[in-house]
């Protein structure tokens, strides 16, 4: 019996996570990049000129954007060696399941990076570790859905080219702008201790962005596979 969309999505995601868990190279590399990035921003920061609350959201989202790009780069790289992608395309699963499975694995990967980076930023910039930080994890996850949807699609497109490392950021970054804008605005509102209702318009932007791009990228993905 042909696997359903959900079950084949999970099979693909589990495979990608198993490979990452076995090698750990990409996760460690991205994690080190994120932590070093936070540290570099910290040492370049003049606390007398810019308040921590003004700087921290920008630092957080610059780090998330670029560490996200780094992690997405490897997503289809694992399918290149020995043309493992052919093995997926030969099977009777829906092409959309390949995209959703990869996006799910990427989301968990990026969430793992966020789980370490947010406390690191909070620690270095003396941010309050209470409720706003918990909400911030939610905002980060919401933004990660949009980043991962776009990044996974463009990673698939770029992986068959010789300029994959250059193409992925060039294609993705313009589409990241609305999500980074919404996430950074929501982050600064929450960290400043302003009422969470003030962050709601930005959260709505993130939710709309996630829905539109998750659906659009899932539907567009099969066309990136045509040789």
């Amino acid at each position: 019996m042909r696997p359903t969309l959900l079950s084949s999505t999970w099979v693909i995601a589990r495979k990608d996570l198993a490979i990452e868990f076995r090698t750990r190279t990409a996760f460690l590399a991205v994690l080190v990049f994120a932590v070093l990035g936070v540290a570099v921003f910290y040492f370049a920061w003049d606390a007398t000129a810019v308040a921590a609350l003004d700087l921290a959201p920008g630092v957080l989202w610059v780090i998330f954007t670029f560490s996200g790009l780094l992690s997405l780069q490897r997503s289809f790289g694992v399918e290149q060696a020995e043309r493992a992608m052919d093995g997926l395309l030969l099977s009777p699963i829906d092409r959309e399941a390949i995209f959703l499975g990869k996006a799910l694995a990427n989301l968990l990967f990026v969430a793992g990076i966020q789980l370490v980076t947010i406390p690191a930023v909070a620690l270095l910039y003396n941010l309050s570790l209470g409720r706003p930080l918990l909400i911030l994890f939610g905002v980060a996850l919401l933004a990660a859905v949009g980043l991962v949807a776009i990044g996974t699609l463009f990673s698939a497109m770029a992986s068959n080219t010789r300029l994959a490392e250059l193409l992925l950021p060039m294609l993705s970054l313009p589409f990241f702008v609305p999500v980074v804008y919404g996430a950074a605005q929501a982050t600064s509102t929450l960290l400043a201790g302003r009422p969470s209702q003030e962050a709601w318009p930005f959260l709505k932007l993130l939710i709309a962005f996630d829905l539109v791009f998750l659906v659009a990228c899932t539907l567009a993905f099969p066309y990136t596979l045509e040789e």
Binding site: S8, K15, A18, I19, G87, L90, P92, I93
Partner: protein
């Protein structure tokens, strides 16, 4: 009668070059086509078209009467063994075959995996990482991966490459068993004797065209190699 595997006017161009040109063929259950041809003749491209991995520029391929492109369930009947192993080096032998079984919706994943590994005589290496295996062993695992769902149509692109005597014998046994069960095959090989030994049909491909397609019983295997060389000229 519905053909198990059918290609009608199958054509594929890359840029301005025709890699496969107007190929028409049909095979029934338990038939095996040995496909010979020099390098660059279009054999691999034809197999990739028959597997649904490439979109034809013109024509179509059918499995059991269903068009292969756009019909995901038709792909469930196809197994493809290519030059590349399609394996993940960071996963174990068993994990790779289990993954394939799950992707094909095999009902008893564990039993099917053990059976495929046993047939290709790599069961005892089940827990080894694929990247730690020799090329020949990887090829055996790759074949086990392609056969785990017991396909009705098997496309083989020089499957004996890299196999040692044990691996080659395991593959020959497996192909004979699949043929006995009514499996349909297309075998691409440069070894004419090897191809004719298992085939019910033989064809020569050159310049993207199928030049000669005939029943194995109608041809003289002793003179076939000479006729083949004459047909493809200096390209052989």
């Amino acid at each position: 009668m519905t053909r198990v595997l059918e290609a009608v006017g199958l054509t594929r161009t890359f840029g301005g070059r025709r890699a496969v040109s107007d190929v028409t063929l049909a095979l029934n259950a338990a038939e095996c086509l040995a496909l010979f041809g020099p390098n660059g003749a279009g054999k691999t491209t034809l197999l990739r078209l028959l597997a649904g991995l490439l979109k034809p520029t013109a024509g179509l391929a059918r499995i059991n009467g269903d068009p292969l492109r756009g019909d995901a369930s038709a792909r469930a009947h196809v197994g493809f063994i290519s030059h590349q192993s399609m394996l993940y080096g960071a996963l174990t032998v068993r994990e790779n075959v289990v993954l394939a079984a799950r992707l094909y919706g095999v009902s008893d994943v564990r039993a099917a995996t053990e059976r495929a590994l046993r047939h290709m005589r790599v069961l005892e290496r089940g827990d080894a990482l694929v990247r730690a295996l020799s090329r020949g062993l990887q090829q055996r695992v790759s074949i086990a991966r392609a056969l785990v769902h017991e396909p009705r149509v098997l496309l083989l692109d020089e499957p004996y490459t890299g196999l040692d005597a044990l691996g080659a014998a395991a593959l020959t046994d497996t192909l004979a068993r699949l043929r006995g069960d009514g499996g349909t095959m297309v075998l691409v090989t440069h070894n004419i004797a090897e191809g004719l030994a298992v085939a019910t049909h033989a064809a020569v491909m050159h310049g993207g065209r199928l030049l000669r397609l005939e029943r194995r019983d109608d041809l003289d295997s002793a003179s076939y190699a000479d006729e083949y060389r004459e047909l493809v000229g200096g390209a052989a």
